[in-house]
């Protein structure tokens, strides 16, 4: 039974706060060392979201912003996978939120300045709650790559942003999914904030022709791993507690 503290985060695996190749991080990175804290109940609990909060089209970005009878423009894809913990167990009831640019690489946002056109039928957000095995899936269109102000010619590879709630606030995670075979991945200053190639590879979703829906949508698989927990069988306890 794992109901103890969460495994410590491997800070060498995650991107460091200060990563000068990604210029915005320079003035937004704490400089003092983080203060290590054993998990208390404040971190080992977290909000839960029930399946009943979901609307029918929450996991269908092709249709959830489209006018009736219309759909978003772009290559249709299914993104599916499991939310697991570091012990390899599925995490049921995890809320997974996702957002992305449209097929042309343009976001629906006031502060977006890229010249690619908006798609009137694409909003760019969706969400799902994992099933008993930790599985989730959604339908969307393949997002486009887009340029961004960092270097004079930096481009983001096609990507989907993910926000994940597990069972504890200590597991809270935001990340991005990339697509197999995209040469832009290895040139991206944001991807390159991640120290190891192995950690980057874990953000790249493979194309899965077996789960592709013929004549409709291709499939990509993206598993997400949240922090795991220790067993409490031999954890320190105050005597008599």
């Amino acid at each position: 039974m794992s109901d103890g503290a969460y495994f410590q985060r491997d800070r060498q695996w995650h991107p460091p706060a200060y990563a000068p190749g990604y210029k915005t991080s320079v003035k937004r990175s704490p400089q003092a060392a983080l203060i290590s804290l054993n998990n208390t109940i404040s971190e080992m609990t977290g909000p839960v979201f029930g399946h009943n909060m979901l609307g029918e089209l929450d996991n269908d970005l092709v249709h959830n912003y489209a006018k009736p009878g219309e759909s978003a423009i772009g290559q249709r894809i299914i993104v599916y996978g499991r939310v697991l913990d570091e012990n390899g167990r599925g995490v049921p009831g995890a809320l997974v939120e996702f957002w992305q640019a449209n097929a042309g690489g343009r976001y629906r946002h006031k502060k977006e300045t890229y010249l690619a056109p908006l798609d009137p039928n694409f909003g760019g957000c969706g969400r799902a709650i994992t099933d008993d095995e930790g599985g989730y899936r959604f339908r969307t269109i393949q997002p486009g790559a887009y340029p961004w102000p960092n270097g004079v010619n930096d481009w983001r590879p096609a990507h989907i942003h993910f926000s994940v709630f597990g069972h504890a606030f200590a597991q809270r995670l935001i990340t991005q999914m990339y697509f197999e075979g995209d040469p832009m991945i290895w040139q991206c200053p944001i991807v390159n904030t991640i120290p190891s190639r192995e950690a980057v590879e874990s953000l790249i979703a493979p194309l899965d022709m077996n789960n592709t829906i013929p004549m409709d949508a291709r499939a990509y698989k993206f598993d997400i791993v949240l922090r795991g927990r220790r067993s409490t069988m031999f954890e320190n306890r105050m005597e008599g507690n």
């Binding site: 208390t40 080992m44 909000p47 969706g126 942003h161 995670l173 192995e198 874990s202």
Partner: protein, 204 residues
């Protein structure tokens, strides 16, 4: 040698400048997809406890407020119970979510939560921790979400006896975790990412 059969946690990436689209779409005018933004209401008319407003801004190393951050909070109810299945000490107030999410105002960067004053919750060894609200901050330029805590300035005795605050080496920094009382039932908690006033962030 055998392997440990453990997986690595998925690497974090910045929430980017468009985190609103996925996390608070109604706030950024993407309407009709979700009925309301997640975490926009923590209390209702039946929630027990002392109503408070918590507001503040997040500042970068130049002292400029971030206008593209997303702030999440997680806290116990007025009795000190968390509305979570992991909470084994009792049943929290069903009219309190414990979870809030607020984007900074697009012009000023100010976040706001309407909530209740949290009760006392125990540390690992059973000693009381001073009442606090757990914060999580993400934004463009933040590569991995930042965890911190907000404490209340009127809890002087509890703050002195708090098992976490007591063992912080640089006691001069503890003040960065204590909100300012800026009105009747209103607290201001500014977060500084860098510089002489840098907020304490935790590796939890």
């Amino acid at each position: 040698m055998q392997g440990l059969d453990q997986l690595k946690e998925t690497a974090s990436q910045t929430a980017g400048p468009y985190v609103h689209i996925g996390c608070v779409p109604n706030f950024c005018d993407i309407t009709g997809v979700f009925p309301e933004d997640l975490g926009c209401r923590m209390v209702n008319e039946h929630t027990k406890g002392e109503r408070i407003t918590v507001r503040g801004r997040v500042f970068d190393g130049t002292g400029t407020p971030l206008r593209d951050a997303l702030i999440e909070v997680w806290q116990a109810d007025a009795e000190g119970l968390y509305p979570s299945p992991q909470e084994k000490r009792g049943m929290a107030d069903p009219n309190f979510t414990g979870f809030g999410r607020s984007p900074g105002d697009m012009a000023t960067g100010e976040y706001v939560f309407e909530t209740v004053r949290p009760g006392t919750v125990p540390f690992i060894d059973g000693r009381p921790m001073a009442p606090h609200i757990t914060f999580w901050v993400v934004a463009r330029g933040i590569n991995i979400g930042l965890h911190t805590r907000m404490y209340f300035p009127d809890d002087e005795e509890a703050l002195k006896a708090d098992p976490i605050l007591m063992r912080i080496e640089h006691q001069v920094r503890v003040a960065t975790l204590v909100a300012e009382k800026t009105g009747e039932a209103e607290y201001t908690f500014n977060i500084h990412l860098q510089g002489p006033k840098e907020t304490i962030f935790f590796d939890i």
